[in-house]
Symmetry: C2
Amino acid sequence: MPLLPSDSVKQVAIVGGTHGNEWTGIYLVKKFEQFPHLIQRSTVNSLPLLANPRAILMNRRYIDRDLNRCFAAEDLTNPDLTGYENQRAKAISTQLLSEQSPPIDLIIDLHSTTANMGLSILVSGEHPFNLKLSAYLSQMYPAVRVCRGIQWGEVSPTLRSLVPLGFAIEVGAIAQGMLDAALFQQTEQLIYTILDYLEAWNQNARPTIPEQLTLFQAITAVDYPRDATGELQAMIHPDLQFQDYQPLRLGDPMFLTFSGETITYNGSATVFPIFINEAAYYEKGIAMILTEKQQIPID
Amino acid sequence: MPLLPSDSVKQVAIVGGTHGNEWTGIYLVKKFEQFPHLIQRSTVNSLPLLANPRAILMNRRYIDRDLNRCFAAEDLTNPDLTGYENQRAKAISTQLLSEQSPPIDLIIDLHSTTANMGLSILVSGEHPFNLKLSAYLSQMYPAVRVCRGIQWGEVSPTLRSLVPLGFAIEVGAIAQGMLDAALFQQTEQLIYTILDYLEAWNQNARPTIPEQLTLFQAITAVDYPRDATGELQAMIHPDLQFQDYQPLRLGDPMFLTFSGETITYNGSATVFPIFINEAAYYEKGIAMILTEKQQIPID
């Protein structure tokens, strides 16, 4: 079985503003729109795309609902879903898959987070090409970490899941509605490295890939302690704040209640929390996502 | 001339959620509503107040306009101003000044910022009581810094300017719509220290005050480089990011353009920038506020 549906990765979508208040991706895409040569390679054509223009204008994550949960196949064909983000999802799907010739092979979806995720690559699915590329990037940049969400399977509602190849890049910690120049430049460099990799791949100049990839595999999401009405009862414990990707062991502090009591982690397995204190996840009932640190062999 | 209009400071308003997405103050006020004894002293009655309930519900800074710019005297009596925040400003003014008996003597308005302001006290006006209390707090907590905005004079539109005594507390760096437990606890402690000071003051047990106060006096606001349409052309330079209250000298990096060029500070006087990269100030055209570091004698 060939690793790719076609021999090469010719069309790449570089998406920013899927969430309208995550400026790193938005301003990178604006830069690429202004200087398109930066994201072209001899064998790779890149399409910069601002996914949620109305949310960007309002500097809000979304207008009606989270756009990055609107791409499930059955939702894209459901005429009853008429919210702004549902319309955008349908339009983006058409644009990337039907209107481009050839259609998009790979999607890079640029996000930022208030969690201390550094430079994170979120792969979806199990496509070996994604894992290979992730392994390459984490070898090139020791600061890059690779994680994989709880598997959605065939019904993934994320933008990046429109095609088998691609991932989200999450950078942080950074507040919404602002730019951090250091993280901006690191993300930009990472994108160029990805495009260079694709160019080399297309030209059969395959770069050396490490034999293993350290993958943080999501196991479960943990919510904040809340009362019966859903009101918050605690905060992320200061010892855990900004400690994304660090081990959390039985008895380690996890939350601090407003009255000053520490709530500890009571699992027997050591886990590695990520997305700790992501502001947009309070409304989703997620204080952090616990991951398992795995070593994945790369063919 | 007596230092205070009355002999003592009997009524204090502790305000959170003047900006609906600044959670530190909001959850502190909710805590004080639940445990009122925490903010009562034998001679001091404290009123906890959530200033902008609708914006809090929406997790937005404001609904129609910045509430903390709605308190100018002529706006409070202008019947043509009917936006939500104008209505709230009128209601708060009535509540604090007319409905309380005795009326509020001192206002503590709790804010947070994405700038690295640590624990900052923003005094308005020149009332010696405010400066004395600020000097006491910065002596008690070396991390506390005191700054004063460009003087509004008689037409100050801020909530805290409803009465001569009081200030805003700004804590950061913290993203909007989230809690940082360490900053939460430090802010809480600072409030208790203020109330203890007022209690001692009322009982004529005047604490020792340093003879001088280090005051960061705002001189001017600086906007981001923008093009003719107002579009951002640069970010805060990485060397300046999070460097609030540090000296900025002629030739020091200030901005980094999206194409990677450094823009330096070209003033001859050494200044001390604050509110560097406050997310809510992009729309106000403020990248940072330059201050002058002053030593103010305290009587």
